[in-house]
Amino acid sequence: MKLLILLVVVIGLVAIVQLAKVYQLTSSLRARREEDISEADNRLNGGLFLAFMVLFYASVIWLVVRYGDYALPSASLHGEAVDTLMGFNLAIIFAVFFLVNTLLFWFSAKYYYRPERKARFFAHDNRLELVWTVIPSIVLAVIIAYGLSTWNQMTGAPAEDALRVEIYSKQFDWTARYPGNDGEFGLSNYNLITPTNPLGIVTAEGLEASMSEVEKSIAKLEKELKHERGHLLKEQLELEAMLHGGDHHGDHADHGHGVDHAAVEARLHEIETLLEDESSLTILTEAAYEAKEDKLNRLKRHRQRLLEISEFNYDGGLSAWAAGNDDQIVKGEFHLPVGREVEMVFRSRDVIHSAYMPQFRAQMNTVPGVPTRFKMTPTITTDSMRYITGDENFDYVLLCNKVCGAAHFNMEMKIVVETQEEYDAWIKEQKEYLVKEESEEAPAETADLEGTTDKTTASL
């Protein structure tokens, strides 16, 4: 292939040199003006348009024959409607494509310039123009009406008994969550994300643990800042100057007036005690001090956000904090029962991703801070699809389809569609969230992906 490219480059360069010579010749002869296109050239270019048209149509037809059978049949209920709509639109599009391009290239070939002829002076014709305003309008009205009816069908409210699955994205993998026996997802909050709680599921215990960790960090930082030697010494000097300030500057007789001497002295005393306690003294550069101060403020706001996570009950009295206990979290692949409507809820941890399920004709962006939804009903099990495609390794995939960073092209999760019985057996085996917390979770693929991310970052 490289050889081929090299060849193309060489031929290209040779061609350029040759053409430069042609250029020199034609322009030095000055036999003709550049703007005078000879009849032969006009006929040739017109003919080339026809030849191009034939070549173009042949390629298009070849592409359609060879690749037009993109179907993999749709594996979802709405997907079948989408495919029919697609076929309808494509039929219209191809008809217009052939009609217009044919007219264009045909006229180009037919009406090339002949000096003895004069073009027909034909500036406008209201009837004709009306025709090609009204006909497209009618066709478009049909396209719009048909398209929107399919759209409404796709986006209507999900059925009461729809299975609910949450799809969660982060750089660069997917996680699925099932609501468990109670049928409700536990509340989740990004402030609670930890390695053992990758979705930030809110539970009373988890919240308490996070809170105490934040408190601990705050206390530690506050202590460090309080014992910073340089700042203490500086404050000491300032306070002393405040106390004795009046003595040095006779003209400011009232300097120091209004200073609460008692309070200042108390603080001075406190500073002295702090300075004496050498073991806990810290020494920081100004920049480090500011950074720590900054961090402290951020932690305080983090604490505030944790405090604002409020508990509420779902219909039926189930607490949103308790609902998370039996949620089931899966990675790598997730399963769906065939023939049952599933309502997918999408969330994202870091940047916008897009959950793209091409075989189901389904796609929805995952947006940090804004949950999104999509409903669908799988109609063909993975096994049946393997039979249909004749490919025993076939799997449905969920891909990322919104550029999200270096490993964007590598962010997929397998979808397994199976019978209700198989699904029931599978879901029963998935651990519930609280159980999961005890076991070490270190799925191999996460480690691997993070490894590659580091590598990519390092290479730049």
Binding site: E35, D41, R114, K118
Partner: protein, 585 residues
């Protein structure tokens, strides 16, 4: 010529660099755009090598990209940077700045009969903002972490968080700064174009007699002036999110091991602001190309453009509708489905004026006397790409269908054909057609023929197969597809596409050679080489300040009296008074 002698001698700097003459400024825009175009095409070839032959080593990549292609294999982050900067340069610097900047500047004063732009100074500023913005954009390719890499739309949070990818560091900041300067340039240019067209038309040049180029430039400028400020606010807010700790677009984010201290923003807000510009932008790119091709087709078909009023009406209609369709870029963001339906409706309406334009072009060709100059070839090519690419827009505008092809190669195919190829064809047509006006010399026509045929074949060769790759479900902006077995059977198209891309890029050498060589050595032009009706061909070949040496010309008729049976010649210049008994447009 006597008049010329009165002009004071200009220094090199005021004549060629800080020039306030619209003709010189238009040349500056064109040459800058040609340079930016070369860069953008090269970037695309680099990533097409990776896409055509994933993981293979190409020495040329290491030569040009150094540490971005260690061992000749393109780095994954670098791939995204190339894609992003290719898109940015093509959309903004070549097809907006380059196209409008060159031809609005050149043609508005010349075709309406004005001495120059309303403000030569603003015009000069417009170019220099464009220039500085271009320099910054190119420079951003060389900074630590690489250039912006989030796609040309730079959606936050990806673009807002330096920890999300290396390209969201310094490169992104420079991208945003460059874009602000670019918008300033566009606004200065746009305001100037509008004011000039409204106020400085010569005697007799009624709005209904304006050439369609001028109508197209006018509406383009209006679109730009109304929509670019929205982009600037989007960009400035993003810059603030990046540097000042605001949270316009950020909320609930956990990245790099910590929960970010930002709440209350919405990433979707950015998309609304961006696409409020982004969609009119498509027409900012396309309308000037359509205007140019209208003029070129009428001139070289030796026929009046068919349905002048309908053509103007459809430009107005497209311009208006382009402001209320931006949501069709956002069907899968979780937007309310009903709102989605509204955007489906408004978007598909645009097909009506577009269809009118296409059929009017074709009727103009019918029973014409077609002179296939290179400009004419590109204009006919434009009509084909405009139709072919426009039709697939019907699928993308239909939300139910968009869901399955959104952000796939289908989209890449669609917009490259309808916007990329059409606009480039329009631009090239413009260059071939008005080269004699700009440089006083002719380009070589034979080289132009070769250039056109290579370009249209390779252009369709690159982009048409992408429809099939997209319908099969291949996402765009992927570095490598080999992990996805279901795509294997369309992926054998990728090397074919890449070969066409390389051939197409090499084919542009015919143009570059012709362009630069003819600038100095081309055949010296005559005053009206194409035997055209419009006013620019009544000016002397040698450029003079104020365009016409004597009094401004007076206009007596519309621009399209070609092959008018009342006249012997097959063209009647706009300055020709009515002959007795003639009914005049």
């Amino acid at each position: 010529m006597a008049d010329h002698a009165h002009h004071h001698e200009e220094s090199f700097v005021s004549k060629f660099i800080f020039s306030q003459d619209h003709k010189m400024i238009s040349k500056q825009f064109l040459i800058t755009a040609v340079f930016m175009g070369i860069v953008a095409v090269m970037l695309s070839i680099f990533f097409r090598l990776q896409l055509g032959w994933p993981g293979e080593s190409f020495a040329i990549l290491e030569t040009f990209l150094g540490k971005w292609a260690p061992g000749g294999v393109l780095d994954r982050n670098a791939y995204l940077a190339l894609v992003t900067i290719h898109g940015t340069i093509m959309v903004f610097f070549v097809l907006t700045g380059g196209l409008s900047g060159t031809f609005s500047n050149l043609l508005i004063p010349l075709q309406i009969g004005a001495r120059d732009m309303a403000s030569g100074f603003l015009n000069m500023l417009s170019y220099w903002f464009f220039f500085v913005s271009s320099v910054i954009m190119i420079f951003s390719l060389f900074v630590e972490g690489g250039a912006a890499s989030g796609g040309w739309t730079v959606y936050p949070p990806l673009s807002a968080l330096p920890q999300a990818m290396p390209g969201s560091g310094m490169g992104m900041t420079l991208w945003l700064i460059s874009m602000v300067l670019f918008v300033v340039s566009s606004l200065l240019g746009g305001l100037n174009y509008i004011v000039t067209i409204i106020n400085l038309r010569t005697k007799g040049m009624k709005m209904t007699r304006l050439p369609l180029t001028i109508w197209a430039f006018l509406i383009t400028a209006v679109l730009g002036v109304l929509s670019f400020p929205v982009l600037v606010s989007a960009v400035v807010l993003l810059l603030m999110d990046r540097t000042m700790g605001t949270a316009f677009y950020l909320s609930d984010i956990f990245i790099g091991g910590e929960a970010l201290d930002v709440t209350g923003g919405s990433p979707i807000l950015y998309q609304h602001l961006f696409w409020f510009l982004g969609h009119p932008e498509v027409y900012i790119v396309l309308l000037p190309a359509l205007g140019i091709s209208s003029e070129v087709i009428a001139t070289n078909a030796r026929k009046p453009i068919f349905g002048y009023k309908a053509m103007v009406g459809s430009i107005l209609g497209i311009g208006f509708l382009s402001f209320i369709v931006w949501g069709h870029h956002m069907f899968v963001t979780g937007m309310n489905p009903f709102l989605g339906s509204v955007f489906v409706f408004t978007t598909l309406l645009i097909a009506i004026p577009s269809a009118v334009k296409a059929f009017n072009y074709i009727t103009t060709l019918w029973q014409g006397n077609l002179r296939f100059t290179p400009a004419m070839l590109f204009s006919v090519g434009l009509v084909s790409t405009f139709v072919t690419g426009g039709l697939t827009g019907i699928i993308l505008a239909d939300s139910a269908l968009d869901v399955s092809v959104h952000d796939t190669y289908f989209v890449v195919a669609h917009f490259h054909i309808v916007m990329g190829m059409s606009a480039i064809f329009g631009m090239l047509a413009g260059v071939y057609h008005w080269f004699p006006k700009m440089f006083g010399r002719m380009m070589n026509t034979k080289l132009g023929f070769v250039h056109f045929w290579i370009t249209i074949i390779s252009g369709y060769g690159v982009f048409f197969p992408m429809h099939f790759v997209g319908i099969a479900g291949a996402p765009r902006r992927y570095y490598d597809y080999s992990a996805f077995e279901y795509l294997d059977f369309v992926m054998d198209l990728q090397p074919v596409i890449s070969v066409f891309a390389i051939v197409g890029a090499l084919g542009q050498l015919f143009f570059l050679f012709n362009f630069f060589y003819s600038m100095f050595r081309g055949q010296v032009a005559v005053q009206n080489p194409w035997r055209s009706n419009t006013l620019e061909w009544t000016t002397p070949v040698e450029h003079v300040h104020g365009n016409w040496p004597g009094a401004l010309p007076e206009v007596h008729r519309w621009a399209y009296d070609y092959s008018n049976p009342a006249h012997e010649e097959d063209f009647v210049s706009q300055i020709t008074p009515a002959i007795p008994g003639e009914e005049i447009h």
